[in-house]
Symmetry: C2
């Protein structure tokens, strides 16, 4: 006989998922509805409206893709790219590389604009890459979860549009934790995840397409290679017509509804400020321990802090101790940063003073022993 | 300010989702874990083991895709098909058509083997289609949710293998409600959904690949067109190596763990018999009302009953009354069956004597008024 699963309580201070509010967890245990039930459809509309508020956009085509953040990434690329199209993609960490891989699987010719891991993509680099190119799209990662660097996007968006391209932005880790202004920054396609600064369990990928991006998708010469992610089919399901496409993950949408409600109840500006403040506290604390943040000065993410591992310290042993002795999850470095950084997330509900204090106490204790 | 969402309690007797056990809903409100947490990884292993029991297979590559049933369908086709490959697909309802669409988006040349909606795909038809063909794969829908017909698969599987093809089966509605024997029937790739006879909320798609199917996917000449669904990447995430791919939907996996546990606690045979018995009660009841089941005699699904709409009765009005006056959801006909049938699901936790009795009472009452 199999036993019921009972997870231990963890303080989630890694790269995501973050901790979520009790009411978000409770929302998932509400009775199930059918996915075409008028009551569920009305709730879908509320989710779309709240997502527009959170993305700061008027885009009609704003909704949660029924998959995790990477499905949101794939949604943007498969709908906008056709075989032979050109794409210019910024790569300064895991998720830039992933965008390249996804775009190439769409048959696109990709030009990479690279920066060392931990640094941002500079507008000057992008300008140079776009000098003699007219790509279909330009894509960058706003907040690189693998390194803790936040690339400013307004100038790059302007350059992309001057080159006639659509501008695609990964906001998986930024949305809800620091400013993301889809309309003001003229972002044509944006995707995020639920399990970072929105503090909702993983399982959905909020996305938004500008009218120009949507038109690009509807005027394609070839069919979108993914049936599941084809916006032309999803538009009829999430739009006015309610044409059956797939069965939306009902309980996950309950959770997202509640999580978005809490984000808007706190207010975007207040929420951003809270993340900034907690980052400040953490930075002060680790500097007092003689440590520093590894990502580029002036562009360090509030919600994901890469702490440089000091010489002679066993990175993995520290992480293991955090988890096994204190029920605290922190993240490891990836790729070239493996063994060189710890990634400490202060996302959404995790970003509180008591949590930062607890982390610093435990960290000091572990480093001393 | 946005208000919390509070869904009404519904008796879900449509084509899915079905009602779920309270412990499955409760499981989703357990504290979140990180997706690489050793405790979560152990639970993933238990899910894989339980899925093997439910699919009656030894296939190592058995796990839940992080999307709904249609993502499971797409998973099978994108991994097995390369541009120019040939596929033979049975079409006797919505989901056969969907498989054709998905396979064509993979660049496959598809031969359809068609039967009228409500009827099964006959082995003789398949034999004729395979006479001069050596397709890469043959695919059919086991239980057509859009019509209520159950196609026997053993003979078709044999024919597919004789033609050198892989055999792919859609068990979205059959798994957990009637026999599905993956190894005995020599199915190479199978997918299902959680929200039908497994009585778990929608959001995951259990899949299983035979060693031969897996080898086909790993030996491809071209990259799998979907990064999100590429089994070569997923194998490292769900396998021994635990290489980070995407962030698994944690809470949905909690729900699936509990739902599978309940399925195995009841026992597959007992569960199938319960579905058969409830179907018998429903059939008797509707026949007493002078009505009948519309799908092919001898091949009618236990878990999804297509009731023919009698002349002069407003199909949509009856459905609406069920929902608004009695909180009971039943399904509509699709495509050529629109307006001609009601689809009454008796899946998983919905399939109980009191529920059948309640449905029949209400149905009799509505038809009389």
């Amino acid at each position: 006989m199999h036993k019921p699963f009972q997870p231990p309580p963890r303080l989630l201070m890694g790269p995501g998922p973050s901790n979520v509010a009790p009411s978000v967890l409770q929302a998932m245990s509400a009775p199930l509805l059918g996915h075409l039930d008028p009551v569920f459809v009305k709730m879908m509309d509320e989710i779309k409206a709240m997502l527009r508020e959170v993305f700061l956009t008027q885009n009609e085509m704003t909704f949660p893709v029924s998959g995790t953040g990477s499905a949101g990434m794939e949604f943007c690329f498969v709908n906008l790219l056709e075989p032979g199209d050109e794409a210019v993609i910024g790569v300064n960490g895991v998720f830039g590389n992933r965008m390249v891989d996804v775009a190439e699987r769409c048959g696109a010719k990709v030009t990479k604009v690279e920066a060392p891991w931990g640094r941002i993509i500079e507008p000057g680099q992008m300008a140079a890459a776009l000098k003699d190119r007219r790509p279909k799209l330009v894509a960058i990662v706003h907040a690189e979860t693998s390194t803790g660097a936040l690339t400013p996007v307004e100038e790059i968006s302007r350059l992309a549009h001057e080159a006639g391209a659509l501008f695609v932005l990964d906001t998986v880790t930024s949305l809800g934790g620091c400013p993301v202004r889809v309309d003001e920054w003229k972002i044509d396609a944006v995707y995020s995840g639920t399990q970072k600064c929105l503090s909702c369990p993983p399982g959905l990928a909020p996305v938004s397409l500008s009218p120009r991006a949507l038109e690009t998708a509807t005027r394609r010469k070839t069919k979108v290679q993914s049936w599941y992610l084809d916006v032309n089919l999803l538009a009829a399901y999430w739009g006015q017509e309610r044409v059956y496409h797939h069965t939306a993950p009902i309980s996950m949408n309950y959770a997202l509804h509640e999580a978005l409600r809490l984000v808007l109840e706190e207010g975007l500006e207040s929420r951003w400020k809270r993340h900034e403040r907690m980052h400040g506290l953490l930075r002060k604390g680790i500097e007092a321990l003689g440590l520093s943040i590894a990502s580029q000065q002036g562009h360090q993410l509030w919600q994901l802090n890469s702490i440089a591992v000091p010489d002679g310290v066993d990175e993995a042993a520290v992480r293991k101790k955090f988890l096994s002795d204190y029920n605290i999850e922190i993240g490891a470095g990836l790729g070239p940063l493996k063994g060189k950084i710890w990634r400490v997330g202060l996302m959404g509900d995790t970003a509180t003073e008591p949590n930062v204090a607890k982390f610093l106490d435990v960290f000091a204790h572990i480093l001393k022993h």
